[in-house]
Symmetry: D2
Subunit: 352 residues, 4 copies
């Protein structure tokens, strides 16, 4: 059994990690860390969790983690992750960070979007960007893994077949993101109160989002020059879990609708967590985050808007699973050369 | 008192017209028409309405309408409106159609998007496009008025200050629309069942929407050549009433953020139903359809995304009020030279 | 014009009072008070409100209120109301308190449920309990009015035809209350965050609620001995505005279903804000708070569960209107001998 | 591997059964039946399901089922189940019916509540009532199992410790049930449309519910005379999945709060799917269906309302899991002497 620690156990992502590690056949939860919630049992903070996990949340010390864990998940804010990762690197077999502290490689870009997450020279470069479908074998044996942002995961999985697969030059990419309220975590903020968030379409990031910077950074690294302008606006809508990212893509390259669909199917043929779906193939239009709720799927649809002269790519995922805890576990599976889907075979809970 | 008839009294828009006409100091409801619901009292179909309106829904006949109404609102499907308008034109002082039957002027475009709404030669040209803020005095005394689509209203009000106000050339406009479930009416469709729609982000029109065609047609008519490419995608999200239209605008013209804001304020200075708002001016990010619920306001925000090299325009309205019944009443006020806001001064109901 | 002040202008009830006073033809808003929000414009705190009210929120002083207001609404927490009412009584023509400070007459009961709301000897007895349908002419000219709690309004309006109308002895009354999240106000509490409240059925007061004490106190005062055991449990459900109170009533008196219905119709014949409705009379089962949203209606349904040997009374209202601000305005209308419905004729906004 | 068939594969319960059987380590899905949906793949009807199940829905024939299944789940309407069960009994090792066709034992009561479900003489008596926590070893080897209704499960699990455990005489039990919209299935009914159901508190069964009859029938069978009057009212509230049943219990027997809690813990000590919880033990008040979403848990809380002279019992479950498909699988596990929790260890998905 692989011994697993979770730091930041009191947040939504922490709770989701507990849920997934608990049902994982090869993982054993050995450490739950959280300074503000130290002394509490998980079920006090996560109303859904089974009551008898046998662990109590403990203060975070590198010693305890190093001693008791083979892998540790950091579900902490970026500045905390930056500090902890520095302490834990080389002391734990694998550190998997779910914050933004190590997602952006380019230093200037990082400083702009995460000014408070000061990271030591060189440390960031050692992190593997943990989107398992797109980084080949880099995760196998990796000591440091940075799990992409929820939107970033959806967008890169949505665009990769165009750039990495078909080799298109994406001249202009306009991203519109719509997400539920769980992305905000358990933070007490007035706009997140139920009476003000229910029924909302909240333009909370109308002219930019750090996940767009992350996507640009990754795509540029993967295939320099493949994306021209990439802009993003993000909205909170009236549900809790799941997001949909729309990418409106303009390219001067020749495009054919059927070939697009085939290219996406081909690109993700070996990747069971990305489902390439037609918009009208089932009861409701897809992709829709409803249809992936609680699961590790990312549903992707590509459409050729011939008349509009553009490609429309839609990607939906559960922000707490494929957009966070699930992807982290998937990356850990790869790290420890387990089958990618180990512990992640749960199907979506729908309707919900 | 102006005698008012409503045809299509059983739908959501019909119900909203009843609500608004009922509270209008100069209007008197004299006819409620609906073939399938004939014989019913309004409160049987509209659970919220006061119970003692004194009218019963009647079968639709041109005679009854011509005899008993000064103005008639058609809240009927486009094909029905096309037929009824032909019968009622010149027999009633004013026919106000809320369907898509007469929104698009260009015949080929109309036929493409509303193939079942066959309209007589010449009739369409007599209709005034009823967005009161943008058509000057054309509505005064108009015998035939076509009320714009809900999305079309939001988008044209959002873009008009750029084209008609500042005279910019909008090279590329990408529209992303998000709306609640009331837009679908009382139609029995599986994806509109509560368990399948709640929690959804439904990409129901990912590569185009007829309201975009309507916007293009109107803007081209108002200022030929001002818009290059205009594309739209539309999504159903998890609330009931209200929509937000986002326009991502790329132009080669010089743009300045402060000037944009001033231009919008200037453009709508005399138009109380359009509120130009800053994104962060209140408790929640705006515009948000929550903040206009039940009212005739359209909230508009313009932002210069300097780094992205684009303008972001956001417009929110209540699809049943400013996007339908309220705008129809506003147009009728203008038609009968009443103050524009007569009967429309209700403030938004928020939180709701 | 009657000059109106509102203290506690930053909360939901405060915002609703602004909305209603703003649309009232005989009221003029002359003072907005709030210590923590002093200096802000109403639209900064209430995203829906029109932007040009011309008033800024001011620190609360008895002098300013006494000088500038004929009537003042206190939308403040009970302890604050208790203090303010003592200062303002006899200095302002009419003080209308919307908190719980003066609802319960019996001192011991008051102290138990509102221990922090210390009220001067004698002051409480001078307050009229402001449920206009049940207190006859007591409100005319009243200098001090206490507006009932939202649940208390629904329950007393639901039960009064049984006790005060039919003279039944209600041996056992079991109340089950279901309400939306707006009842909690703009308070930052973890269970009220959208991700934790959406989808909830939250048993937040499973064994008692102070509104039940208020109801008991009022019914006992109105008709001593008419109610035996009265218990209540309250739940938060997954919407924002409106509540439904169910009363399961056991009596040894003879009961007849048709006579019950007639008695309710008779009891509320002259009271337009109480709508006696049959459960199946419209599209959806009623009463349902949806069908009164934004309006001052209280919808009531009475059913004889013959087999169960009980009477089922259901009452729905908008907690911010008939359950707070609307009822306060209605009481003020009576106080100043205006027609009861002045400024309150808005119809429900539905669907929403 | 146990070969499993599902009839009625197109409904919500059918979809949930597919989800659970698919993740069950000892079950193998060998037949999916549905006459109206024959020829379709499951993912066309269930947007969340993985796409490669390899089975197509087939017309329902007893032959096919008998030949290919060791156990068949009937997720069909009661009249269809009544017919099918008659055909399949003695031809399949185990028939598990999820409808109401065989829940009520007493013939007159059955006929009253399920008049269209005509069942052969004697067949009903052979069915075991499948609430595994309360029927001891009756399920082991049972050829015919009737899965209780969703509300009935919650209520019987909630009351059993009082009657079967403590031996109390429950003089008066008042049930108030609150449930989400998924209970209505994929039926096209106007009140279930999203715009009319969202935000609702719908008193759809205000004076009685057949699940109450089922509970009474079972409790009477288990412990004659233990319950006096049992009445129920049921409401639809504004979420999708999960229900809460409240039981307000009046008894003349002596009751002590602490002893109640201990008795519940004792009663369910060996039953991991029933979690006895204190109302305030976690972030949100419990039991709340949110905290069991997607899982097979039934959360139960018992409170002594000393002042009200009553016991309050609250029970929450996921109506599609512990209230239907999950309980059916749990019963099947017992039938085939597998550990009760096999395939049912998934934790709740929360927040959602």
């Amino acid at each position: 059994m692989i011994r697993v620690g979770i730091v930041g156990a009191s947040g939504f992502t922490g709770g989701e990690l507990i849920r997934l590690v608990n049902q994982h056949p090869e993982f054993k939860l050995t450490f739950l860390g959280g300074n503000s919630s130290a002394g509490k049992r998980p079920a006090q903070l996560h109303p859904g969790l089974r009551l008898d996990l046998g662990l109590t949340i403990e203060p975070v010390t590198a010693e305890a983690i190093a001693e008791r864990c083979d892998v540790v998940f950091l579900a902490t804010p970026a500045p905390v992750s930056a500090e902890l990762a520095a302490l834990l690197a080389d002391r734990v077999e694998c550190v998997i960070d779910l914050s933004g502290a190590f997602r952006i490689r380019t230093p200037e870009l990082h400083e702009r979007w995460y000014p408070k997450a000061r990271r030591g020279t060189g440390l960031a470069d050692r992190f593997v960007y943990g989107v398992p479908e797109l980084v080949g074998d880099q995760l196998v044996g990796a000591p440091l893994i940075s799990v992409p942002g929820c939107y970033a995961t959806a967008i890169t999985l949505g665009l990769a077949p165009l750039t990495l697969g078909l080799g298109l030059d994406l001249k202009t990419v306009v991203i519109d993101g719509k997400s539920g309220s769980s992305g905000g975590g358990v933070q007490l903020r007035v706009p997140d109160l139920h009476p003000l968030r229910n029924g909302a379409i909240a333009p909370y990031a109308p002219t930019g989002h750090r996940h767009a910077a992350e996507v640009g950074d990754f795509l540029e690294r993967s295939k320099p020059g493949s994306v021209g302008s990439l802009t993003m606006s993000a909205y909170g809508v009236s549900h809790v879990r799941g997001l949909l990212a729309s990418a409106y893509v303009f390219t001067d390259d020749e495009v054919d609708g059927r070939e697009l669909q085939r290219a996406y199917l081909r690109f993700y043929k070996e990747h069971r967590f990305v489902r390439v779906r037609r918009n009208t193939e089932t009861l409701i239009p897809v992709p829709d985050p409803q249809a992936v709720l609680g699961s590790n799927y990312c549903d992707v649809t590509v459409l050729h808007d011939e008349e509009g002269g553009r490609i429309v790519v839609l990607a939906a995922l559960d922000n707490l699973v494929k957009g966070a805890a699930g992807q982290a576990v998937q990356a850990a599976n790869k790290r420890f050369t387990l089958p990618e889907e180990t512990g992640l075979t749960m199907q979506p809970v729908m309707p919900a």
